[in-house]
Symmetry: D2
Subunit: 203 residues, 4 copies
Amino acid sequence: MAEQNNSMSSMASEICNQIQSVFTQGETEERTVLEILVEEIASAAGRNGRIFFYACGREGLMLKALCMRLAHLGLSVHVVADMTTPPISSNDLLVASAGPGGISTVDAICGVARSNGARVLFLTAQPKSESATKYATVIGFIPAQTMADDHQPQQQSSTRQLLPMGSLFEGVMFVLFEMVVFRLAEVLGQTPEAIRARHTNLE
Amino acid sequence: MAEQNNSMSSMASEICNQIQSVFTQGETEERTVLEILVEEIASAAGRNGRIFFYACGREGLMLKALCMRLAHLGLSVHVVADMTTPPISSNDLLVASAGPGGISTVDAICGVARSNGARVLFLTAQPKSESATKYATVIGFIPAQTMADDHQPQQQSSTRQLLPMGSLFEGVMFVLFEMVVFRLAEVLGQTPEAIRARHTNLE
Amino acid sequence: MAEQNNSMSSMASEICNQIQSVFTQGETEERTVLEILVEEIASAAGRNGRIFFYACGREGLMLKALCMRLAHLGLSVHVVADMTTPPISSNDLLVASAGPGGISTVDAICGVARSNGARVLFLTAQPKSESATKYATVIGFIPAQTMADDHQPQQQSSTRQLLPMGSLFEGVMFVLFEMVVFRLAEVLGQTPEAIRARHTNLE
Amino acid sequence: MAEQNNSMSSMASEICNQIQSVFTQGETEERTVLEILVEEIASAAGRNGRIFFYACGREGLMLKALCMRLAHLGLSVHVVADMTTPPISSNDLLVASAGPGGISTVDAICGVARSNGARVLFLTAQPKSESATKYATVIGFIPAQTMADDHQPQQQSSTRQLLPMGSLFEGVMFVLFEMVVFRLAEVLGQTPEAIRARHTNLE
C-alpha cells in the first residue's frame, strides 16, 4: 500500500490533487484570480498599454512562462530586466508575484510602477501583507502554501512534504496561467494558427 | 453545463487530469522517467559529478525550476549559459530536454557533452527522433503532446485546446520534477530544514 | 618603472592602447566592421525588419549591451532566448558573434536564421573559419586575439597577458558598439532626449 | 578634418581617451577603486566567503563579465537571480553597482546583504548619494558620467555625445575589471592554463 502510494502515477495524482484543491478554495472569492488576471491583461491590451512581469526565483520562471504565451497572443509584454524592456508609464500594467507576501526587489519594482502611475496586479498567498496592501492596485489571491507558512516544526520532523516551500504556489501559477492564456485567446480572437506562428524558431 | 465546465475550478480539474493521464501512461514503461531521473542524478552526485541543464523556451524554464531545487539539495548543478557554469567532462551529466524531438541548440549542447564523454539524459516526447537516437545516453520518455504533434487541422478549426503547443509537456515536467526532488531528498538524506536553508535570501 | 607600469592609470592605458590598435588595423579593410554594422542594421530597420542578437559568454554580454542601446534608438531588436523573442524570417537580420570562429550553438542559431532566409552578420576574428564561411551573409572582421589564438606556450610561462583569452575581442566589441550606436542615432535622426526617454525605469 | 575625426580609428581613439581619463582622475584617490576591488575580493576568498554580484542593465552586464572571469580564477562567485545562487551571510561580499547613485532594486539587494551581515562594495559615480552612504561598507568611486549627470541642455541641442547616458561608466567598468582579474590572478597564484581550463565548453 505504501509502495503503491510511492508510484509515479500516485505521486502525480497527489500533486495534482493538491494543486486542484487550491482552485476549489479560490473559487469562493467574489472575483477569482483567473477573472482578475484576464480582465486586467485584456484591459491593458485594450488601451494599448504594455504589460510587464516581475517575480523572483521559481515564481519568476512561472511568470516568464506566462509572458511567452502572451507574446504568442500578440500582446506587448515585457520581462523586467530584459535588455529590450521599455519604461513603464501610467497606461501600463505590472503583474508582480510575491507568494510569501513581501520580497524586497518585488517591493522595489512595484514601487517604481506605482510612482509612475501604472496599475499593479499583485499575486500572493498573503493578501493582507504589508507589501500587498501598499503596492497592489488589485490583488490576485492564490490560497496556497509558500515559504511564509511551510514551517510546521512538529510535522516536519516526521514527514516530508511532497510540495515543499513555495512549490504548491508555483504549480498553481503554472496551471492558472494556462487558463489565463486560454481565456485571453478567446477574448482577443486569436486562432491557434496565429498563436503558433508567433513561436520563435531561433532555438 | 458549458458554464460549469468553464469555471476556474473545472478548468483546473481538466488541466490536472490531462497532466495526470500522462503519468498513468508513462507508468507502463519498464523504467519510468522518474526512476531514470532520480538514478542518473543520484549517480552523478555519488561520483562527485556536476549536473548541467539545458532546454529552450518554456521547457528551459521548467528545467531551471528543477535546477534551483537541486541546488537547495546541495548538489553541484549548473544552468548552461550562466556566467558561473564550468566545463563539462566525462564524470558529468547533462539533463537536456527537447519535447518535439530535435531543437538545434539542444542538439549542439548535447553534442558538446557527448564529445567530452559526459552522460546525456534526454527528455522528450519523441524517443525515436534522430536527435534522441544520436545524443541520448539514456532517454527519459514523456508521452505528452508537444509542438511536434499539436497540429490537428480538422480539430483545431472547431475547438481550442486547453493546453496548446508544448504546454502539456511543460506541465508534466513541473509535476515530474517535484517528484524527482522529493525522491532525491530522501536518497540524499536531506532534511527539510537543510534544504530550506540553502534558499537564497538575495531577492 | 615597473611600479609605474603597474599603476591603475598605466594599466588602463595599456588596455586602451591594445583596444585602439585593433581599430587601427581594422581600418585597412575595404569596408570597416563599423560601416558593415551600421549599414546592415540601418538597412534592416529601413525594410521594417527585426534584428536579433546571439553570442555566448562575454561576447553575448557585449551584444546585449548593444541590443539595449538599439532598443533605446527605437529599433525592433531581440535577444535570442528571451521570452518575448519572435520567429526570424526572410526580412530580418541576425547579428551573431563567434570570436574564435565556430561555436556550436552560434552555428545552430545561424543555421536556423539562414534556412529561414534571414541575413546573418557574423562577427569574428577568424573570417576564414568554416562557420564564418558557411553561415555569414556578411562577415564583420575584428582582428583581435580570442580563445582561438591566446595560446603562446613559450610566452605564457613567463608573462601573464593583461587581456587574456577573448578579453581583447570583447573590449573591442564594447567600443565598436558605442560607435555603431552613435552613427545609427544620426542615421535614424534620434535625438538624445528621445533615446534617453526609452531607457527603462523598472530597475 | 571633420571626416578624419569621424573615421573608425579616430572615434575609437576618442572613446579610449575618455575611458583612460577616468582612470587618471581616479588615481588621485587615497585608495584606488582597483585596489579596493582586489583587496575586498581577495579578502573574501581568503576567508572562504562567497562573492555576489548585482547591478541593473548594462552595468549588470559588465559585472557579469567580471563574475565569469572570477569563476575562471576558481572563486566562489554568484550572480544575483541565478537559479544556483545561495543565500548571503556575514562571511560574504556583495559587489553592487549603481553608477547614478541609487537604483531601487540595487538598494533592495544591498539592504538584504547588510541586514545579513555581509560586506557591500558599492561601485558608483555618486559616492555621496543616499544609497552609497546607507548601504556601502566600502565605496568604489568611479568618476565617470552616468545617467545622473548626462543632461546638459544647452550642449545637447547642438552636439551628440560619443558616450551617452551611462556608457562611459560602463566602459570604465569593463577596463577596470580586466585589471582586477589580472591582479587577482597574481594574488591567487593562478596560471593562465588553470584559468583557461575553467572556461566552459558548453556553448
